[in-house]
C-alpha cells in the first residue's frame, strides 16, 4: 500500500516537473500565435486597439502578460483538471480534443506492443533453444537488423508497399466515416481494426527484434540455472520444465515492456503522421505546427502521464508475478 502511495507521489511530482518544463519550453519556441492572430486581424483591416481586444476575447486572457502569471494561471487550471482552451480552434477545450485522441493512440500502441511482444518472445525462445543452428542464427540476425531500424522508416515502407504498390489497406484515418458510424458493433470494430493494421504493424515490426534479442539472452541464461537441471533430474514433464523456464525468463522483460510503452507512446507522433491517424501524436504534430500552446501542453501532459502510469502498473504487476518482490502484508 505504502509502495503504491509512494509511486503516486513520485508520479505527481514528475508530472509537475514535466509540465513546468514543457510550459517554459513551448514559450521559448519562435512564433507567437497571439501575435500571429493580432497581425492577421490588422491585415484584415482592424485598428491595433480593435485587434488587441478581439484577441483578448478569443483567448480568454490578456496577451503580453508576464510569464509567471500565465504559469500560475495554468497550474491553477491544471489543479482543477482544466487544460485550458485551444488557441488554434478557438473556444474548444483542450481536454476534449486530447481525450478524444487518446483512445486511438492507446489502441495503436497497445496492439502494436502486445503483438511485437508476443512474436518477439516466442521467436526469442526458439532462437535460444536452437541457438547453435541456422534457424537460431537467422532469427538473431534478423532481430538485430530490425532492432536498429526506427519505426517511422518501417512505417514509410509499409505505407508505400501496402497502400500504394498493393492497395490492401487504407492510407489514413481511424475509420471510414462514410460507411460506418461509431458504436459497438461488428462492422465498426472491423473497420477500426482494418484502419489500425498498418500503423500497429509498424510498431510491431520495428520493436519485435528488441524483444527477440532480450528474450533470447534471458532464456539462455535461465537455461543454465541449476533449478532447471534439478527439475530434469526429478523427472518433471517437459512441458512443466518449459513453463518453469518461460516464466523465469520472461520476468525481466516486464520492466522493459513498461518502459517501451512510454517510448512508443512518444514515438507515435511519427507513425500517426505517416498514416494520418487522428491520435495524440497527430494532434501534437498539428498543434506544434499551429503554435497551439495550450494544446501542446495538454498533449505532452497526457503522454507524460501515460508513461508514468505504465511504469506504476509494471511495478504493481511485478509484485504480483515475482514472489521475491512481494512484501509481507
Amino acid at each position: 500500500m505504502w509502495r503504491i502511495a509512494g509511486h503516486l507521489t513520485r508520479g505527481l511530482a514528475m508530472i509537475w516537473a514535466v509540465t513546468t518544463f514543457t510550459f517554459v519550453l513551448i514559450r521559448l519556441m519562435p512564433g507567437d500565435p497571439v501575435q500571429v492572430q493580432y497581425e492577421r486581424l490588422i491585415a484584415q483591416g482592424m485598428t491595433p486597439d480593435q485587434a488587441e481586444s478581439a484577441t483578448a476575447i478569443t483567448y480568454g486572457f490578456v496577451p503580453h502578460g508576464p510569464m509567471w502569471k500565465q504559469y500560475l494561471e495554468y497550474m491553477w487550471g491544471l489543479a482543477h483538471l482544466d487544460l485550458g482552451v485551444s488557441v488554434e480552434s478557438q473556444g474548444v477545450p483542450v481536454a476534449d480534443r486530447v481525450f478524444g485522441a487518446l483512445p486511438w493512440t492507446v489502441l495503436l500502441v497497445l496492439s502494436g506492443i502486445l503483438i511485437s511482444f508476443l512474436i518477439g518472445v516466442v521467436l526469442g525462445v526458439v532462437a535460444a533453444m536452437r541457438r547453435s543452428t541456422m534457424v537460431g542464427h537467422g532469427l538473431s540476425i534478423a532481430g538485430s537488423l530490425l532492432h536498429g531500424v526506427p519505426p517511422f522508416v518501417i512505417g514509410i515502407v509499409l505505407a508505400a508497399l501496402f497502400t500504394r504498390r498493393w492497395r490492401w489497406f487504407p492510407s489514413g484515418g481511424h475509420f471510414n466515416g462514410d460507411e460506418v458510424s461509431p458504436g459497438f458493433y461488428y462492422d465498426f470494430i472491423g473497420d477500426v481494426a482494418y484502419h489500425a493494421v498498418l500503423p500497429a504493424a509498424s510498431f510491431a515490426v520495428a520493436s519485435y527484434g528488441g524483444w527477440l534479442l532480450a528474450m533470447r539472452s534471458s532464456v539462455a541464461s535461465v537455461l543454465g540455472d541449476d533449478f532447471l537441471l534439478a527439475a530434469e533430474l526429478r523427472g518433471l514433464r517437459p512441458f512443466m520444465r518449459f513453463r518453469y523456464l518461460a516464466r523465469n525468463a520472461i520476468l525481466p522483460l516486464f520492466t522493459v515492456l513498461a518502459i517501451s510503452f512510454g517510448l512508443v507512446f512518444g514515438g507515435s507522433i511519427f507513425i500517426e503522421r505517416i498514416f494520418n491517424y487522428p491520435g495524440l501524436g497527430m494532434l501534437l504534430y498539428q498543434s506544434i505546427g499551429a503554435r497551439d500552446f495550450s494544446m501542446m501542453s495538454g498533449a505532452f501532459l497526457l503522454i507524460t502521464a501515460a508513461v508514468i502510469v505504465a511504469n506504476i502498473l509494471a511495478d504493481v504487476l511485478y509484485t504480483v508475478i515475482d514472489p521475491r518482490v512481494r512484501r509481507q502484508a
Binding site: A230, E232, L233, R234, G235, R237, M240
Partner: protein, 308 residues
C-alpha cells in the same frame, strides 16, 4: 528391496574429452559410498551419470530392478528419475524454481510421476526437524541453506526412491548445519534402507558417514574400499597425499602436507600413462608409458610392484 548399482567400464565425455574414463564401481545395496576427489576430478559427472545424465560414450550404469540407465530412452529416464533415484544438489546451488512455493513444486513432481498422494512429504520434513506447513508454503528465498538442503532431500525421497545421490550436500554450509545434514543423511539412509552415494571433496565427511569410499583423480577411480581400511591404510600415493593434507586438531599445523601441483583439467589430462604421475612422489618409468590397471581395488604401478 534390493537396489544396488553396478557401474561398468563407464566413460562420460564432454565433446571429445572424457571427464570420466573407464570407471567401474559397485554400490552395494544398503551402503553409503563416499566419492572423494578434487574439483574437476569428474566426481559430479560420475554422480550425474547415475541418473543417465551426460554424454555416456561407453559402459553401463545398471540399477538393480530398474535397468541400465545408459541405454534408456528419454521417457523411461524421466520416469525413473525422481521416482526410483533421487538427486540432491549442493546447498549453494538453487535447485528450486524461485517463482513457485515448495508445495507447488512438490505437486508438479507428483503430477509428473502420476502420483496423487504426496502427504509423505509431511512426516519426511518433520523427521528432518522442519515444520511441513511452513516449508511447503515458502519460496526458495525464504529458506536458509540448511533448510533448502533438507527440502532437497525431501524432493529426492518423497516418491520413495531407493537410490540417493548427494552431490556435495554439505559444501557451503556452516559446521553445525553440516553436522545436522550428515546426521539426517545417516538416519534417513538407515530408516529407508537406501543405497547412497555421497560426493564430496571433504575426507572428513566420508569418514563420518560412508562405509565405503572411492577416490577419484583425473576422471579415474584410483582407489576404493571400506572407509576404515582406506583411511587407515591408504595405498595409492594420491589417497595418501589427500589424507596427509588434512590439518590435525592437535599438534603443529605444518604436520599437514599439501599435495604439490594442481589437478589436471579436462584438456590437460594425459592421454597415455598414469594420470597422477605429474604429481606423484614415487613415479617410475612405466608410469608415463602405460595406464595402471585396477588390481585389488587400487590402480597404481608402484602398489602392483610391492604386491608382487
Amino acid at each position: 528391496m534390493n537396489m544396488g548399482v553396478t557401474i561398468a567400464g563407464l566413460t562420460v565425455t564432454y565433446g571429445d574429452l572424457p571427464a570420466v574414463k573407464d570407471v567401474s564401481l559397485r554400490l552395494e545395496d544398503g551402503t553409503i559410498t563416499g566419492l572423494v576427489g578434487e574439483s574437476g576430478s569428474g566426481k559430479s559427472t560420475l554422480a550425474l551419470s547415475l541418473l543417465g545424465h551426460g554424454n555416456i560414450a561407453s559402459g553401463s550404469v545398471f540399477i538393480d530392478g530398474v535397468g541400465d540407465m545408459s541405454k534408456m530412452d528419454k521417457g523411461a529416464l524421466r520416469a525413473v528419475r525422481g521416482a526410483k533415484i533421487g538427486y540432491v544438489f549442493q546447498a549453494a546451488q538453487n535447485s528450486l524454481n524461485p517463482l513457485l512455493t515448495v508445495g507447488k513444486q512438490l505437486l508438479d513432481l507428483a503430477k509428473s510421476h502420476g502420483v496423487r498422494d504426496v502427504r509423505g512429504a509431511h512426516p519426511l520434513l518433520r523427521r528432518m526437524g522442519l515444520d511441513p506447513d511452513r516449508v511447503l508454503n515458502s519460496y526458495q528465498h525464504e529458506l536458509s541453506g540448511g533448510m533448502r538442503q533438507r527440502v532437497g532431500i525431501m524432493f529426492a525421497l518423497v516418491l520413495n526412491a531407493h537410490v540417493l545421490v548427494l552431490d556435495e550436500p554439505t559444501t557451503a554450509l556452516d559446521m553445525i548445519t553440516q553436522a545436522n545434514i550428515l546426521q539426517i543423511v545417516r538416519e534417513v539412509h538407515a530408516d529407508r534402507g537406501l543405497t547412497t552415494l555421497i560426493v564430496t571433496h571433504d575426507v572428513g565427511v566420508v569418514a563420518e558417514v560412508a562405509s565405503r569410499v572411492a577416490v577419484m583423480y583425473g576422471g579415474r577411480i584410483v582407489e576404493c574400499g571400506s572407509t576404515k581400511e582406506v583411511l587407515a591404510n591408504p595405498r595409492h600415493p594420491y589417497t595418501r597425499g589427500l589424507i596427509n593434507a588434512i590439518p590435525r586438531l592437535t599438534g603443529p599445523v605444518d604436520v599437514a602436507k599439501p599435495l604439490p601441483g594442481t589437478p589436471p583439467t579436462l584438456g590437460t589430462i594425459p592421454a597415455v600413462g598414469c594420470v597422477f604421475r605429474a604429481r606423484c612422489p614415487i613415479r617410475m618409468d612405466v608410469c608415463s608409458a602405460q595406464e595402471p590397471e585396477m588390481i585389488d581395488d587400487v590402480a597404481c604401478h608402484a602398489v602392483g610392484v610391492t604386491a608382487k
